[in-house]
Amino acid sequence: MIYDREKLQELIPLYASGQLSESERHAVERSLEKNPDLRQELADDLELKEAYRQIESEVRLDPEKLFSRIEARIQPKEKPAKVPARRQPQVNRPGFSIRDLFFSPRLAWGIVAIQFLIIFALFPAVDQKPAFTTLSSSPEAVAGGVNLHIVFREETTEAAMRSLILAAHGEIVSGPSATGLYVVRVENDGALQEVLSTLQNSPVIRFAAKAD
C-alpha cells in the first residue's frame, strides 16, 4: 500500500502510539526508510508524546475522593433503573414466600377470594354420611329388602365372606365400620328368619342381627 505525504503525516502519530494495522505499519515503515522528513516528523511526534507523559505524571488527583463526590450525586434518588431491594425475592430469607405473596394487598385479597370459591365448589361433593357407623345407626333400607348387621370374625377371608353373603342372596350396603360392622341387605321373602339363623350359626360370623 502506498500513501501520499498528507496521509502519511496523519498516520505518523498513530504509528507512534502503536494503533496502526499490520499493513499500514509496514507502509509507514517503508516510507520512513526512504524519507528523512518523515523521520523528523516521527521524532517530533515522539517528543510531543513524551512531553504529554510528563504533564500527565505531574497531575495530582485523588480519584477515590472524587468518585465519592460522584456517588453522592447519584444516590439514592438518582438510581431510577434499580428495582427497590425490598421488592426483589430473597430466597435465603426464612418465610419469604408468605411475606412476598401477601406483599400486595390486592394479590392477597385475590388469593382469599379464590380459596372461598374452591371451598364452595367442593362443598356439595363432600360425603354427608358420618365417618363412622354404630350398631344403633340405621342405614336406610333399600326398598324391598331388609338390612342386617353382620360382624365377621377377624380371621375370615374375603372369599368366605363373599360366598356366605351370596348364599344368603344378600349384598353389602356399607361397611366395614371401624368395629368391623357390615350392613348387608337381604330379600324379605319370608325366609328371613332362616337366613338370619344360618348366618348366626356360621363359624366365620361373630354377630348377625336384623337392623331396626
Binding site: 498528507e6 503525516q9 496523519e10 502519530p13 498513530l14 502510539s17 494503533q19 523528523q40 521524532a43 517530533d44 511526534d45 517528543e47 510531543l48 508524546k49 513524551e50 512531553a51 504529554y52 510528563q54 504533564i55 500527565e56 497531575v59 495530582r60 488527583l61 480519584p63 472524587l66 468518585f67 463526590r69 460522584i70 456517588e71 450525586r73 447519584i74 444516590q75 438518582e78 438510581k79 431510577p80 433503573a81 434499580k82
Partner: protein, 187 residues
C-alpha cells in the same frame, strides 16, 4: 488490551448503568477513564478545582444518560465530548470564551533559558502557548491518541479542519521552539 476490547468493556459498563443502575459499572468506567477525562478538562479549564468539578459533573451525566450512547463513536470519545461540552459551558459562564482564537499564536510571558530548559520542557511551554483550539486537537491526537475522524466527530468539525489545525499547531510549536533558539534541526 486492544482498542476494540477496551471499547467493548466500556460499552458493557454503559449497558450495566443504563439497564441495571449498576454503580459498580460506573466505578469500573471511572477507574479506566478518569485520568484521561481529568487531563482533558484540566487542559481546557486550566484549573485543578474547576477540572475536578466538571469531571464530577461529567460522570453524573454519564450515569443519567448512559442509555443514549449510540455507538457512533467509541465510548471514550463520547465521554470526552460530554466533558468538553460541560467545560465549554463553564468557560462561557466565566466569559472566557473571548480568549478562543482561530489562529495559533505565541503568547507573551517568561521564556525559559536554554540552560534551564530541556527539550521536553520547551515543548511543554510551546504547547501551553497554543490557542485553545489548536491545543485541543494536538491534545486529542497526541495525548488521547484519537485518529482524525474521531477528533472530527468529537469536535464537530470536518476532518480537513482537523488536519489543518494539526498542521498549524505543529508549525506553531516549531516556531515557538525556534524563538526559544531551539532550531527545528535540533529536534
Amino acid at each position: 488490551m486492544d482498542n476494540k476490547m477496551t471499547n467493548d468493556l466500556h460499552v458493557a459498563c454503559l449497558n450495566g448503568i443504563s439497564t441495571r443502575g449498576d454503580d459498580e459499572a460506573l466505578k469500573t468506567l471511572y477507574d479506566m477513564l478518569h485520568k484521561k477525562v481529568y487531563f482533558f478538562l484540566f487542559r481546557i479549564l486550566g484549573e485543578k478545582e474547576a477540572a475536578e468539578d466538571i469531571m464530577v459533573e461529567t460522570f453524573t451525566v454519564i450515569w443519567k444518560s448512559a442509555g443514549s450512547y449510540s455507538g457512533r463513536s467509541s465510548v471514550s470519545t463520547w465521554i470526552l465530548g460530554i466533558a468538553r461540552n460541560l467545560a465549554l459551558d463553564e468557560l462561557r459562564k466565566r466569559k472566557f470564551h473571548d480568549c478562543v482564537d482561530d489562529h495559533p499564536h505565541i503568547a507573551g510571558g517568561e521564556i525559559p533559558s536554554m540552560e534551564q530548559a530541556d527539550r521536553s520542557r520547551v515543548i511543554r511551554v510551546a504547547l501551553d502557548r497554543l490557542s485553545p483550539k489548536h491545543q485541543e486537537v494536538i491534545d486529542l491526537v497526541y495525548f488521547h491518541e484519537l485518529n482524525y475522524p474521531e477528533v472530527s466527530e468529537l469536535l464537530g468539525i470536518p476532518v480537513g479542519t482537523v488536519k489543518t489545525r494539526i498542521f498549524h499547531a505543529k508549525n506553531a510549536i516549531r516556531a515557538a521552539l525556534a524563538s526559544l533558539k531551539v532550531g527545528q534541526n535540533d529536534l
